[in-house]
């Protein structure tokens, strides 16, 4: 199974090259891969219908408990077949739709990467592996949505989709890791049997919310739904693929997959059902306001995703059955409708439903495919959409507690679906022929094959529901509900309340369709919704982030070196000061009497010189004062037994002063630049820092944990290192490595001085 999952990535590597080789037929050739995968995984149907699962596992990062483990049960298999099946059609379609596009080769690669990521996602057993593929779908969809990358709108939409889904992805990652901690394993197949344990865990609520955040953002649930319609910037085959069967269903897949582990609690039911219901209604209402074919379909997809979430939230056996059946039906007709919309757009150059009409003569096959899909979406028998809708009603009607509001909401959404089906599947083909930017012809075969096959399969499944019901959908339902159950799919349920509801739906839907323009006008008066809608929050959030970032950066990275220094000094004081203060009373001071007079004088001299350096208005004065400080320090070395130090200090100080004079002799006097207040503040900070240093020295000079190691040097300097000047012996022998570093520093300094003085690129250029 692993090669099957990864084959898409491998194919992505060669797709571009293949396209260069075979410009005309590359799409057909590449489509062989998903077609092969479809056949390969069809072979699993029998095994899984018999109640078995297929699993493989390879160690990936065992240290972290990450395995490349895959696991196919009914739920995975349903998704896998949709992904590979629709993937085949989409690849063929792309070859026609983007014919002649200079970057078609890259497009194939991205689609293949996307497909492989989806396959990995739905087959993954290990939670981290699942997450890896999850993120890969976000990433490849970013590249696909932004495929038309020269337009700013496409870039914006791609980024929006990526940010929203990645935000949820990060929550998901945290949630999965916590789930692993709570359940003691990262393998989903193991966790499935540990639902009790997880639900009783104190971290259950945070885990649930984190994972739901991931699922809801990915599946465009309210209030994260706004990215999906914007993602219609993508070329139509991408929209068809990502937004009918695959990417946006990943969140639904996750909910279904984790239902046995996390579901069944009150909090699950309220949150998931609530969000699903809100999404269903918001999506349906917003769909009515659109006139762009693809945007209508996009909002109706949002609504459909809401329906799926809603029923997974209910979690009753009937609800789960309904959700799974609806999922399949929706994937088939929505994929077909998107592809039809693309074909219409491709042939006419228009996507506005008000400007399209009467295309059935020019595009009979496309019209037939669109009609089939629309009938299924409208839920008319004998199409598969009808069965799905009936089951939704049944489950809603049968739900305890909230049957009435729930059923009415679902009926309302379904009515709008009927209208949407009319607008997208019938409207463009019926009525008066309109003039369009391009003169319409029937699309080429690669463009009508996909929608036709999808539309026909909706019809076929509607006529023979039992075949697919028993072998494919039953195992899926079992996987979601976590218990065995049987599914008897039939087209005709007899005369019962749901049939009545269907009739009402159809009538209402027809009414909405007829009155759609009036409704749209009414809705456009409510234009303000977009002002407070979540898309607005998104941009507000980004703007706010920018403002915050700008303010913070201006404050911190101000460009003023003295502020940097102040902050650093203040940090050191703020950290070390309190700690030092907490050490207790002042350290015992040594007696002052032992300090000799000349030592007092020396100290005074150093301090005086430092003061002069600060106060001096002339540069030379300041430099001379610095020299005096240096000589004073050298005298300290003389007094306390360090002749080598003193000698070096004297020479270095002299040389430094000479260098200072060489560099500065021609510069003017200091100007007093800071105000008195600033100087007082700086003085306060500086004195505090000095006081801190003094205190630490007083503390540490009274403390001696251990005898020093220097006795060794005195002992061995002469006999082993052949030198009487111990300091020198340390420098060239005991610690010669320090000296090696030291002379390297000197060498580099010399190179630096030389280069700075001799190499002046800007000036050279201006000459």
């Amino acid at each position: 199974m692993l090669p099957a999952v990864l084959s898409g990535f491998a194919a992505a590597l060669v797709a571009s090259w293949l396209h260069r080789l075979e410009r005309e037929t590359a799409g057909w050739i590449i489509a062989l891969l998903p077609a092969g995968l479809f056949l390969y995984f069809s072979g699993f149907i029998e095994i899984i219908a018999a109640g078995d699962t297929v699993a493989v596992s390879y160690a990936w990062v065992p240290t972290m408990g990450i395995n490349l483990s895959f696991y196919a049960d009914g739920l995975s298999l349903l998704f896998v077949l949709l992904i590979s099946g629709i993937g085949t059609l989409v690849l063929i379609y792309s070859g026609g739709y983007l014919k002649g596009h200079p970057q078609l080769g890259r497009f194939y690669s991205f689609i293949l990467i996307f497909m492989a990521s989806m396959l990995g996602l739905v087959l993954a057993d290990n939670a981290i592996t699942l997450f890896v593929f999850w993120e890969l779908t976000s990433l490849s969809s970013y590249l696909l949505i932004g495929f038309d990358h020269k337009r700013e709108g496409a870039r914006f939409a791609a980024l929006q989709a990526l940010l929203v889904t990645a935000l949820g992805g990060l929550a998901l990652l945290a949630g999965l890791l916590l789930l692993g901690q709570a359940g003691g394993s990262l393998e989903l197949s193991v966790l499935l049997s540990r639902g009790e344990l997880v639900r009783a865990h104190p971290l259950y609520t945070p885990i649930l919310f984190l994972i739901l955040a991931g699922a809801f953002t990915k599946s465009a649930q309210f209030p994260f739904h706004f990215w999906l319609p914007n993602a219609m910037e993508a070329p139509t085959p991408v929209s068809a693929y990502l937004h009918s069967a695959t990417m946006v269903k990943a969140g639904v897949y996750l909910l279904a997959r984790l239902h046995p582990i996390l579901g069944g609690t009150d909090i699950w039911m309220y949150v998931v059902t609530g969000v699903g219901a809100a999404t269903m209604l918001v999506g349906a209402c917003l769909a009515l306001r659109q006139t762009d074919l693809k945007r209508i379909l996009a909002y109706s997809t949002v609504s459909a995703l809401g329906i799926l979430t809603l029923f997974l939230g209910l979690g009753t056996p009937a609800a789960i059955k309904a959700a799974v059946v609806f999922l399949l039906g929706h994937a088939l007709y929505k994929g077909a409708l998107f592809l039809v919309a693309g074909a219409v757009d491709h042939e006419t150059g228009a996507r506005d439903v008000d400007r399209l009409g009467g295309l059935r003569q020019a595009m009979p096959i496309t019209a037939a495919a669109g009609g089939l899909a629309a009938l299924s979406m409208a839920g008319l028998p004998p199409l598969f959409g009808f069965i799905g809708k009936e089951m939704l009603y049944e489950a809603a009607y049968g739900s305890l507690g909230a049957a009435l509001p729930l059923t009415s909401a679902v009926v309302l959404a379904s009515m709008i679906f009927v209208a949407v089906a009319g607008m997208t599947g019938f409207g463009p083909f019926t009525g008066k022929k309109t003039s369009t930017p391009k003169h319409p012809h029937e699309a080429v075969m690669s463009l009508w094959l996909g929608p036709m096959l999808l539309g026909l399969s909706g019809l076929l499944l509607g006529l023979l529901p039992a075949s697919v019901g028993n072998s494919l959908l039953s195992p899926a339902i079992e996987a979601v509900s976590g218990q065995a159950g049987d599914l008897e799919l039939t087209l005709w349920h007899g005369l019962n309340p749901t049939i009545a509801l269907s009739a009402v739906t159809l009538a209402g839907g027809a009414g909405i369709y007829a009155g759609r323009e009036a409704l749209r006008r009414a809705a456009s008066r409510l234009q303000m919704t977009s002002w407070w809608g979540p898309a607005r929050w998104y941009s507000l959030l980004l703007d706010g982030l920018n403002v915050l970032a700008r303010g913070q950066t201006r404050l911190l990275q101000s460009g003023y070196l003295r502020y940097y220094l102040l902050i650093i000094i203040a940090t050191a004081l703020g950290l070390a000061g309190p700690k030092l203060a907490s050490l207790g009373g002042p350290p015992g001071l040594v007696s002052w009497q032992e300090v000799r007079f000349y030592e007092w004088s020396l100290a005074a001299l150093i301090l005086l010189a430092a003061l002069v350096a600060i106060r001096s208005r002339s540069r030379l004065g300041a430099v001379a004062a610095l020299g005096v400080v240096g000589y004073g320090v050298a005298l300290v070395y003389v007094l306390f037994g360090a002749p080598d130090l003193a000698m070096t200090q004297f020479m270095v100080e002299t040389l430094t002063v000479i260098l200072f004079v060489l560099v500065f002799y021609h510069l003017p006097r200091f100007a007093r630049l800071s105000s008195g207040l600033v100087r007082a503040r700086d003085a306060l900070v500086a004195v505090t820092a000095g006081a801190l240093i003094t205190t630490i020295i007083l503390f540490s000079s009274n403390v001696q944990f251990h005898p020093k190691i220097s006795g060794y040097f005195a002992e061995h300097s002469l006999p082993l290192a052949h030198g009487r000047n111990i300091v020198n012996v340390i420098l060239v022998d005991f610690r010669g490595l320090d000296t090696l570093g030291e002379i390297t520093v000197l060498a580099v300094a010399a190179v630096g001085v030389y280069a700075l003085l001799k190499l002046r690129l800007r000036e050279e250029k201006s000459k």
Binding site: L556, I567, I568, L575, L737, L740, Y754
Partner: protein
């Protein structure tokens, strides 16, 4: 083969000395640049192999027994860092051949690069606190000159801030070493570790630890001590930026990890919690700084800060998996960040600017380069299955296990913002249509030598391949990082390797 311990600083030094002798012959210096760094990388790999097989290695320089002489020690962490220094050095050396202008080459660029590597390797390998100071200075001095080499105005302004703030750090470090020696009477880190482990006056030790935290914190560019980095990293030629970005702050991080696992573990509840808070703030401020920027290298520079937060997050959590996460993160980051800077240089050469508004059209014109940018950029943002994902994953996981939810939230949030600013570069420099070039722009700031594209692209491609490999085959790197973390968290082995079975 104890000689392997001294070679990492010695090879660059020899190469530097020979380059100084052949001052007038640029071609010899160029050969030495590649030979020296390749030799360094080879030695480093041999050293890593030896430490992996035989455990922590130590040698007493000058033959004087520890703790009296200077000890060089290589545990796995050190060895890994030396390998990374060699790798970065080689990549940048090859890249420099094609990107460095002749005038800078004539004025000491290559010897400076060697001494920089020498200082870095010395810092990674030394077992002596004062010797660490010396290596820091070697590295700093070389970086000062590299930063200023060329004498352009922006370079001068950046260099002044860089030099001043780093010298403050050095002065603080030196003072702290002096006081520590005054109190504990030794400089050998293993010896210090042993002596500090049973000390009554832990308050004083903690105060000194805080001084070290500030001193190394400045070098590592953590909040709120990072100012020198964004002020300077975008001013020198790109090869210099790249090696700085890869290595310099990481030496600070290395030092922090070293002293806060080996020496200052008396009051973990205080010091390491403090480090954790600093880590969080560093991540957030860094990434916010990046969001504001509109210039390729400035964005990358602020991200360095942000990533430093991740590296010390593991130290702050102070558990075995967390420290392993830090080690993994460092490995990942050095490779990726160096590479991104190298890519920015190619973009600059193609379009004549680092300003995003003047870039564009690279996706259409150079699909290969686009991939070579996307790999490190997405890795930086922690996208699977690249190295950055596993780096982030291990830290997040360690944070969750340690129930430090705030830092985990920060780490995840910051990775989203990192993604935001990487996609900003992508959208502006690659996706966007090429902007019309102004004629003025053609007059590039540096004189461009004749392009030799393969010299530019090979290092980038190799580093990108490593990024992918570290993700797809994360297990070996993880095992390595975990073993390294085990050594760090159990200093007894380190102390024994240096001092033998002493009291």
């Amino acid at each position: 083969m104890k000689i392997l311990l001294i070679l990492p600083p010695l090879i660059p030094l020899t190469a530097a000395a020979l380059s100084l002798l052949s001052w007038r012959w640029r071609s010899i210096q160029r050969v030495l640049a590649v030979a020296g760094t390749a030799g360094l990388l080879g030695t480093a790999l041999a050293l890593l192999d030896q430490v992996w097989r035989k455990g922590i290695q130590a040698t007493q320089v000058g033959g004087w027994p520890a703790p009296f002489g200077i000890t060089l020690v290589a545990d796995l962490f050190s060895a890994i860092m030396v390998v990374l220094a060699g790798l970065t050095g080689l990549a940048v050396a090859v890249y420099s051949l094609a990107s460095m202008d002749a005038r800078r080459e004539e004025h000491g660029y290559y010897p400076l690069m060697h001494t920089l590597l020498m200082g870095v390797c010395g810092a990674f390998l030394t077992g002596d606190l004062f010797n660490l100071y010396v290596w820091f200075e070697v590295m700093l001095m070389a970086s000062f000159v590299l930063l200023a080499l060329g004498g352009e105005r922006a370079q001068m302004e950046g260099a002044i801030k860089y030099v001043t703030l780093n010298l403050i750090s050095s002065a603080l470090f030196l003072a702290a070493v002096g006081m520590l020696y005054g109190a504990a009477g030794t400089l050998n880190m293993a010896d210090l570790a042993r002596k500090l482990s049973h000390v009554a006056e832990s308050g004083l030790v903690t105060t000194l630890a805080l001084l070290f935290l500030v001193a190394f914190g400045i070098k590592a560019a953590v909040f709120p001590l990072f100012f020198w980095l964004p002020a300077s990293y975008h001013t020198p030629p790109v090869a210099v930026s790249a090696i700085f970005a890869g290595l310099l702050t990481k030496v600070g991080v290395y030092a922090l990890i070293r002293v806060f696992t080996l020496l200052f573990v008396q009051d973990v509840g205080f010091t390491h919690t403090l480090i954790l808070v600093v880590a969080g703030l560093t991540m957030v401020t860094g990434v916010l700084g990046a969001i504001v920027q509109n210039e390729f290298r400035r964005i990358l520079s602020f991200h360095i800060i942000s990533q430093i937060g991740y590296m010390i997050m593991g130290l702050g959590l102070f558990t075995l998996p967390a420290v392993a996460g830090s080690v993994f993160y460092i490995v990942h980051h050095i490779i990726v960040k160096t590479n991104l800077f190298l890519v920015s240089g190619v973009a600059r050469r193609l379009r004549g600017s680092y300003e995003l508004k003047r870039l564009g059209g690279l996706y259409q014109a150079c699909p290969g380069l686009s991939i070579l940018f996307l790999i490190p950029a997405l890795s930086l943002a922690g996208m699977p299955p690249l190295s950055g994902f596993f780096a982030k994953l291990s830290l997040v996981r360690a944070g969750l296990e340690g129930e430090q939810y705030a830092i985990v939230a920060a780490a995840l949030g910051v990775s989203l913002l990192t993604l935001l600013s990487m996609t900003k570069i992508w959208a502006e420099a690659f996706w966007k249509e090429e902007t019309k070039r102004e004629p003025k722009q053609e007059a590039a700031i540096e004189p461009e030598p004749r392009a030799s594209w393969s010299l530019l692209l090979w290092p980038i491609a190799t580093l990108a391949a490593l990024t992918v490999a570290m993700g797809v085959a994360a297990e070996p790197v993880f095992t390595l990082a975990t073993r390294a973390a085990e050594q760090l968290m159990n200093p007894a082995d380190y102390i024994r390797a240096v001092l033998g079975e002493g009291p």
